[in-house]
């Protein structure tokens, strides 16, 4: 599973992307966030420090209950501020 981070979240974690292989019970976005937060103090601080983390699964916006699986591209980022 490929994880992408953008903006402040990327900056806090210190990498723009990483390959991860979470256990089988990490089946949705919410559980994936919990698992990533537990993976290092930098992840924990980055997610904790980002108000309202947004997610996308395979380049579509996704909610905490949306499914994730091996091979997916999952992105995390703060609320968007373009325009």
């Amino acid at each position: 599973m490929r994880i992408l981070y953008f903006a402040g979240l990327r900056q806090r974690i210190g990498v723009a992307e990483e390959e991860v292989a979470p256990p089988q019970d990490v089946r949705d976005v919410g559980r994936l966030i919990a698992w990533l937060r537990a993976s290092s103090p930098a992840h924990e601080a980055a997610f904790a420090g980002t108000s309202r983390v947004r997610a996308a699964v395979n380049q579509d916006f996704a909610g905490l209950g949306d499914a994730v699986a091996a091979g997916d591209e999952v992105a995390f980022f703060p609320p968007v501020t373009g325009g």
């Binding site: 903006a7 916006f61 992105a75 373009g82 325009g83």
Partner: protein, 151 residues
């Protein structure tokens, strides 16, 4: 309807974009545009814009498709710049063309409102002393976008 979406570092050429949208046609009654510019608030010296290549273009195309479903447009163009942008420079351009003035004006406002809340871009402000600050999402942008929600 032709929708053109581009994410690019380069400055865009408004006159050329309008010519592209209206050239050779005689059924366009109005072209509305919105161009967002970089302000020098609080001593900002550069605005850095980041996006999610692939997803950003798709998200904008979906927003433009939604505009085309809601209004009778003859064409629409959305160009959003990324990278380092100095104060006074353009950031985003939305162009809509229609036989009818109201359709062009309303869809232009819709596109920029939804783009601001639904397209993955992030701004970071760089100040004269070298400090930086990620721009926070604004509640007023959510409200502006929400007025286009359908009951």
């Amino acid at each position: 309807m032709a929708v053109r979406v581009r994410v690019q570092q380069a400055v865009f050429d408004l006159a050329a974009e309008i010519a592209e949208l209206t050239g050779g046609r005689t059924d366009v009654g109005g072209v509305a545009s919105f161009c967002g510019l970089c302000r020098a608030d609080d001593g900002l010296v550069t605005l850095e814009l980041e996006h999610y290549p692939g997803m950003t273009e798709r998200a904008i195309e979906r927003i433009a498709d939604e505009a085309a479903r809601r209004w009778p447009l003859t064409g629409a163009t959305v160009i959003h710049r990324v990278g380092a942008i100095p104060p006074g420079a353009p950031i985003v351009l939305v162009l809509t063309a229609s036989s009818h003035r109201a359709a062009a004006l309303e869809s232009c406002a819709f596109l920029i409102d939804w783009l601001k809340t639904r397209a993955p871009f992030w701004k970071r402000e760089v100040f004269a002393d070298g400090s930086t600050r990620w721009v926070e999402a604004k509640g007023e942008d959510d409200q502006a976008a929400a007025r286009w929600d359908r009951a």
